[in-house]
């Protein structure tokens, strides 16, 4: 029975690959393929569910292929199935199936019809990997796919400004969540000295035994998991991304931000519950976070005057409650609540255009000039203050700007003195020396050796910050990102003695993606003349193919699971010792900024309103 688990991941993947090869114009072929794939998956899920129940709903674990292994490290793809997966599978299959059927007609004649269904299938593939994952590594593959699909679906209308801006914003928030997960993986590797499976995690004695001696690292792991979950499920302080994600066609908003994607944070909590079950402080923290989110999101929902943002905030409030339920230990209750909330919000979003006629009709027959609400019992000044704060979304959006963008921009600005010449003049010789020392195993004082990894990783961080803040030179920004990876590799190589194979594994993807991306930019420059990073160019309008290849190389460079870099990144992290918090911090910061900088380049050059206005272009404000 366990071997059947493969199918649930492979069917969407096969569908995705097939769908890539169908010509754009063949609307019905595309939609029938997707319908067939998702339908098959849905029927399969139901069948499997019944079979599983008949067998007495055992917990299944399937050790799949080891993508990479060394003596002390194994990147294992592992699948797992229990009641949490069962519920997520059923809700996901049901909603994806229905929304696909819905979209077949709804998106008729939309430019991007194929792109939409490609993305839906890729999303569904990622969703299934995530919910079937048996360890953090597998989960992380799915997690990354979900993130990039979100970006692609929010920026579905890529020739307008706001979708691209918001997609970029949401991607950045997700990136924070990703790092939470990476750090959790890093710490848990040191805790267990292996890539722990969720099956083992559910062994309470084992967990207890390990944690009793490492309680601090246990709390750290739990906090990182919580950050990842809160970012993905739009809890405080990340909540404001959810309404901004409603930029794609209504059905995609419904399935992603109404139901599946936004509940993945809950899934992570449910999945890791056995791990933090005995950490009371963490459980209290989750309850507080959930409660705060519910209250703030409810107040915000009450003043929303647009239908989609209202649904978004009410959903966030309910997810806050689900967080509480999970933390208290009401697992079944939380699952039930998740399913209900997902169905309800999906349906509400799908019928949201009807609200105009429906609510105006209501108003026509039941209008009361000034309805008294519960808030009217408060003193006027408090009432006004809460109202204004809620309209401003409790400054959550500006808060995210303050903690994420402003520091990044400020740090970047400080680096303005670094011109490309100076950078190359300084960094390349330094790097060469480092490399030379490394290969020749030249002796050096231990104190120096000890600090080298941190220094190198700091240089790596600086290069990627420079890449992020660069406004003019696209190529320079691109090269900086590649250099960042090289610095990281060097830093880690100094940190621990291990085979160069692992470094090659890490850098192989970086080099290939780096060269391909560079060629794309060069070709585009030849065709279009100068391009910079100071505005959106929208070149995907004329050069969709270059845009696609460049996107792939961005993904490769950012460690998306299409190149060995993805595994390499994880391997590299295992060589950071548990007492090297600064190194881990620099490395993970590089990792955040690296992804954001790459998506920024892609967005600026290829997305947004097309600079050539010989055809219809939308207003920036629309």
């Amino acid at each position: 029975m366990s071997s059947l688990l493969h199918l649930f991941v492979l069917i969407p993947l096969a569908g995705f690959i097939i769908s890539l090869f169908i010509p754009k114009k063949q609307e019905s072929l595309i939609s029938w393929t997707v319908f067939g794939i998702v339908g098959l998956h849905f029927i399969g899920s139901v069948g499997f569910f019944i079979l599983w129940m008949l067998c007495g709903h055992p917990t299944l674990n399937l050790k799949d292929i080891a993508l990479y292994s060394t003596d002390n490290y194994e990147f294992l793809v592992d699948f797992y199935f229990d009641k949490i997966t069962a519920v997520y599978l059923f809700v996901g299959a049901f909603l994806t199936f229905l929304v696909t059927v819905y979209s077949r007609r709804y998106l008729h004649r939309e430019p991007g019809y194929k792109r939409f269904f490609n993305t839906i299938l890729l999303f569904y593939f990622g969703y299934n990997i995530t919910i079937f994952s048996g360890n953090f590594e597998t989960l992380f593959i799915g997690w990354e796919i979900l993130g990039i699909c979100s970006f692609l679906l929010i920026a579905f209308y890529r020739d307008r400004y706001l979708p691209v801006k918001n997609a970029y914003k949401v991607f950045s928030v997700y990136r924070i969540g990703d790092v939470g997960l990476i750090l959790a993986m890093w710490a848990s590797h040191h805790l267990w000295h292996e890539n722990i499976t969720f099956l083992k995690l559910s062994n309470a004695e084992l967990v207890h035994e390990h944690l009793s001696s490492h309680s601090l690292i246990g709390v750290f792991i739990s906090l990182m998991i919580l950050i990842a979950a809160a970012a993905k499920s739009a809890q405080l302080p990340f909540s404001s991304w959810l309404p901004r994600a409603m930029e794609g066609p209504t059905p995609s908003s419904a399935i992603f931000y109404g139901s599946l994607s936004v509940h993945i944070g809950v899934f992570l909590l449910l999945r890791t519950f056995p791990f933090w079950e005995n950490q009371i402080s963490v459980r209290i923290l989750i309850v507080i976070l959930g409660l705060l989110t519910s209250v703030v999101a409810t107040l915000t929902a009450r003043v929303q005057s647009t239908i989609k943002s209202q649904i978004a905030y009410s959903s966030v409030a309910q997810i806050g409650l689900i967080f509480i339920e999970v933390a208290i230990g009401f697992e079944k209750f939380a699952l039930f609540h998740f399913a209900g909330n997902a169905f309800l919000r999906t349906y509400q979003l799908l019928v949201s255009p009807s609200s105009v006629s429906y609510l105006i009709r209501e108003q026509f027959y039941n209008f009361v000039p000034r309805k008294q609400t519960i808030e009217n019992s408060l003193p006027r000044k408090i009432q006004n203050s809460i109202y204004m704060l809620s309209v401003k979304e409790w400054n959550l959006d500006s808060f995210m700007n303050r903690v994420l963008w402003t520091p990044l921009n400020r740090a970047g600005k400080k680096l303005d003195f670094l011109t490309i010449k100076r950078l190359l003049l300084f960094f390349i010789p330094t790097y060469m020396i480092g490399l030379f020392v490394l290969y020749r195993h030249l002796p050096m004082p231990a104190e120096v050796h000890e600090y080298l990894p941190t220094i190198f990783s700091l240089i790596g961080l600086i290069t990627v910050l420079k890449a992020f803040s660069e406004r003019k030179n696209v190529v320079m920004s691109w090269i900086m990102i590649i250099m960042n990876h090289f610095w990281m590799a060097l830093a880690i190589s100094f940190n621990e003695d291990f085979t160069y194979n692992q470094v090659y594994l890490y850098l192989s993807g970086v080099v290939v993606a780096g060269i391909v991306g560079y060629l794309c930019v060069r070709r585009l420059k030849r065709l279009e003349g100068s391009i910079d990073l100071n505005q959106f160019y929208g070149h995907s309008y004329e050069h969709p193919k270059i845009a696609f290849v460049f996107l792939l190389s961005c993904l490769g460079l950012t460690g998306f699971p299409i190149t060995p870099t993805f595994i390499g990144e994880d391997v590299i992290f295992t060589h950071i010792h548990e007492d090297q918090a600064v190194l881990a911090l620099f490395t993970s910061l590089s990792f955040i900024v690296d992804g954001i900088a790459l998506v920024r380049i892609y967005a600026r050059v290829f997305l947004g309103p097309h600079v050539k206005t010989y055809h219809e272009t939308a207003y920036r404000s629309s």
Binding site: F94, G340, N341, L344, S390, Y619
Partner: protein, 848 residues
């Protein structure tokens, strides 16, 4: 021979725009701003209008060129599209040559054809709007719109909201700015980030000019700055301006003005600048290197604009020519069937009623159909039972003095729990999501695989309960409610019946039953629902009007009065009101119980004619729909059409007015044997009973604003769906129940979505009037605002001499004979076979 240099001579100065002001006149500038901003009313009162109404005082060609250079709109198809149309023979060569000859000279044909078809032009358009404010980015490296617009839109939307939010804007009765002031005064937080602005708002001088002095500095730039600023979010600015002028378009009326939002936005700008630069920064005018060109300065004609104008005309006349030739060549030997006519039916002039009339006449060749504006000449406010408001049921510009109330409404309004506010509260939401949530899943499943009618949808038949009674007759003129007289007196009724019947030329040979069929539409998940209903009823279904008019025409006293005026309606003749649902192709009839026994018999027979006609009509419409196989039988297709109207996932329940291009005013004999592919508004009119054109005046008056308005809104939404239309409707989000935007912090999107205009060809309306050209010309010249439509070419006008069938093109205040270039006419035996052949627009045919 005219050469390129002569373009300079042809330049028209923009004397009509205000001259560039040195001193700032706030009142005047606001007035001009309001004139240019989009004028679309809130969704529930969606009424089609000319999108470029602000330019209507100019000739169409000049206007579109100016609009494109000033505001960056795309105002015609692209050069490539025209060239492709020419290559595929959708633009005829002989027509193109004719137009070049008329505009240039015969000798330059080759030269211009070369320019039109091969010469390459720089088609990149750099509009003037926004250039001044662009300096914020350039010189100050600050993106004001990015910071300000989201919060501005949010606050505006909360203020205007009609019923989405659960907790409404705390203070609103005092007007927008006063409410903001009140909030700022009495709260612990602020919409602003800095102190100076808050003090300015609460205690300081908030005149627009004083704020502009801080921000802009140079007074001569104030006007341009405000245009730049408001056109950076023309959707919201336009909505505010419309609500200011027509507060009744919101049921929950709001006091707001363009002045208020400008002040607020200027304050936010100062706030943002203060926040970034501290309290000391130099106003914008000090940092401008090059004075941007004044947005309303002269716009020069270019060779490209001339090329585009020629293409546009050639495109249009290729079509017009075919229509005129067909009208001329069609053998309309109207055998005198009137003596034995089975029934007469009046429909709205709406282009969607074109085909149903054709089918009725095809199935029952003895029947007679008429077209008249769908409010049937009765203007009133309507109040359904338990309704808290009145609904206007007549063309939008008219303000009726009458009220008609519905009594005895039996149908219960169904509700849908998914729209209740409880789902958004914390604890009830907690309960609901775990109970209702599972019901939603089931509903979703049903609605996708078995769509059926639900409270979610808009149904034209719900407008009025057929079993209710209406207060139509007024027996006591002091019976007044809110300054409206309840019902009409006998005299008032008689006037309206007389007006209607004479207008369409139905003054004798009445059949036993005369039907008055209004129209409405049904759809679900459609924010544009009001635009699908009858435009002559202010975007509502025409059921009440048809019922009211039938009552009047059946009234014995009314008939007595009419007979004294020489209009005799035989006693056996009875009028029956009805409603045609254009989406579902269903007709409901009202008050059938008043029919005499004999007429009941007639009615039964006629009903089968209607039923068959509706099936055929559904089949003809289905050819445009991808999801329906047009080769199926009419009955099967009709069922699918009905399902389509209740399908949540169907963004095109029907195509509404798309493809409209013609307006024909005359007797049915002009068009009776022609297949016009549902592209014509048809107003019945008999010149013989109106030789001097007195009635014609009343008919022609609304043609511009109503038919021309519809045509031009489709035209501009089609050619620039992004800036003049609403873009695709799939990502639309409902804002405060009055507008739509993309996502949650976008600007409002006025205009039509791509799903409504995708099959539309941007061709101006051709009005064909069956009357003598001098009468037609005199008629349109009676009223300057009516004349403007024709003399400035926003619609084309052709008069057809009823005796000789010679066409006269009326242009620039004179008329000249138009001789169609085609000498043959396409013949057609079976419409059902024809409609199966193509999804595209079909040529004009004569039906044998």
């Amino acid at each position: 021979m005219k050469t390129q240099s002569s373009f300079i001579d042809q330049q028209e100065t923009l004397g009509t725009y205000a001259d560039k002001p040195i001193s700032f006149n706030e009142h005047q500038v606001l007035h001009e701003l309001k004139h240019f901003l989009p004028a679309q009313a809130p969704l529930k009162d969606f009424i089609h209008h000319n999108t470029l109404h602000a330019f209507q005082n100019l000739k169409f060609e000049t206007a579109t060129h100016h609009a494109s250079k000033i505001f960056g709109y795309k105002t015609s198809l692209s050069l490539e599209e025209f060239r492709k149309l020419y290559a595929t023979k959708k633009i005829r060569k002989d027509i193109l040559e004719k137009i070049i000859t008329e505009r240039k000279c015969k000798e330059s044909i080759a030269e211009w054809i070369e320019k039109l078809t091969t010469k390459s032009y720089d088609t990149i358009n750099q509009p003037r709007i926004g250039l001044l404010r662009y300096n914020w980015k350039k010189a100050y490296h600050i993106d004001l719109d990015l910071t300000i617009q989201p919060i501005l839109f949010r606050i505006l939307c909360s203020y205007l909201d009609q019923g989405i939010s659960m907790w409404n804007f705390p203070i609103e009765y005092k007007g927008f700015l006063s409410s903001i002031k009140e909030l700022e005064r009495n709260s612990f937080t602020s919409f602003f980030k800095t102190e100076r602005v808050k003090n300015l708002l609460l205690h300081g001088d908030c005149e627009i000019s004083s704020l502009l002095k801080i921000i802009v500095g140079d007074e001569s730039l104030y006007k341009q700055y405000l245009f730049d600023q408001q056109f950076a979010h023309q959707g919201w600015a336009g909505m505010v301006s419309t609500v200011e002028d027509q507060p009744q378009t919101l049921l929950n009326t709001k006091k707001i003005s363009l002045h208020d939002i400008i002040v607020f936005e200027l304050l936010l700008e100062i706030d943002t600048l203060d926040h970034k630069f501290g309290a000391i920064w130099a106003p914008l005018s000090t940092r401008i290197e090059k004075q941007p060109v004044d947005i309303f300065a002269d716009v020069a004609k270019t060779e490209l604009s001339e090329v585009m104008a020629i293409w546009q005309n050639a495109y249009e006349w290729t079509y017009y020519n075919e229509v005129l030739a067909s009208i001329k060549l069609a053998s309309n030997d109207t055998k005198n069937k009137k003596a034995s006519a089975s029934f007469q039916a009046m429909f709205c002039i709406d282009d969607r009623e074109c085909s149903i009339r054709r089918y009725l006449e095809e199935i029952d060749p003895t029947c007679e159909t008429f077209g008249t504006p769908g409010f049937f000449g009765v203007e009133f406010f309507y109040q359904p039972e338990n309704g808290k408001f009145y609904t206007k049921l007549c063309p939008a510009p008219i303000t009726p003095k009458y009220l008609i109330k519905e009594l005895g409404h039996k149908e219960k309004r169904k509700t849908d729990v998914h729209f209740t506010k409880h789902t958004h509260s914390l604890l009830r939401g907690w309960l609901i999501s775990q109970t209702l949530g599972f019901w939603s899943a089931f509903r979703l499943l049903l609605t996708i695989f078995r769509p059926k009618e639900s409270p979610t949808m808009v149904s034209s038949f719900q407008h009025m309960d057929p079993a209710s009674t209406l207060t139509i007759e007024n027996k006591n003129t002091s019976d007044i409610e809110n300054d409206l007289q309840i019902g009409f007196t006998i005299e008032e009724m008689a006037n309206r019946v007389e007006g209607l019947l004479k207008g369409i030329g139905l003054v004798k040979d009445f059949t036993p039953i005369v039907y008055l069929v209004g129209h409405g539409a049904s759809s679900v998940n459609n924010t544009y629902y009001a635009g699908y209903d009858c435009g002559a009823c202010s975007g509502r279904p025409g059921s009440v009007n048809s019922r009211v008019m039938s009552f009047m025409a059946n009234h014995a006293e009314v008939r007595k009065t009419l007979s004294t005026r020489g209009l005799v309606i035989p006693t056996e003749t009875q009028f029956v009101g009805g409603l045609h649902d254009t989406t579902r192709d269903e007709i409901a009839f009202y008050d059938e119980n008043i029919l005499s026994e004999k007429n009941k018999e007639h009615h039964r027979k006629n009903q089968t004619t209607f039923a068959k006609g509706l099936d055929f009509n559904a089949k003809e419409r289905s050819r445009r729909f991808e999801s329906i196989n047009t080769k199926l039988s009419p009955k099967k297709i009709h069922d699918k059409i009905k399902t389509r109207s209740v399908s949540l996932f169907e963004p095109r329940p029907e195509y509404n007015h798309a493809t409209n291009t013609l307006c024909i005013i005359g007797r049915r004999s002009v068009t009776k044997s022609l297949f016009l592919d549902r592209r014509a508004f048809m107003n019945s009119y008999d010149y013989t009973i109106d030789p001097e054109g007195k009635l014609l005046f009343g008919i022609m008056k609304p043609i511009g604003p109503v038919c021309g308005g519809i045509n031009l809104e489709y035209f501009f939404s089609r050619v620039d769906n992004q800036k003049l239309g609403a873009g695709t409707k799939l990502p639309h989000n409902v804002m405060g129940l009055f507008g739509v935007a993309n996502g949650t912090d976008g600007d409002l999107r006025p205009g039509l979505p791509s799903q409504m205009i995708e099959v539309h060809d941007p061709i101006r309306l051709l009005v064909i009037v069956e009357h003598f050209p001098e009468v037609v010309l005199q008629t349109i010249q009676k009223l300057p605002e009516m004349y403007e439509w024709f003399v400035n070419d926003w619609v084309h006008l052709v008069a057809m001499n009823p005796k000789t069938k010679v066409f006269y093109l009326i242009k620039d205040g004179t008329f000249s004979v138009y001789e169609p270039l085609t000498e043959h006419i396409n013949k057609l035996n079976n419409t059902m076979q024809l409609v199966e052949t193509s999804q595209e627009n079909l040529p004009v045919y004569e039906i044998n």
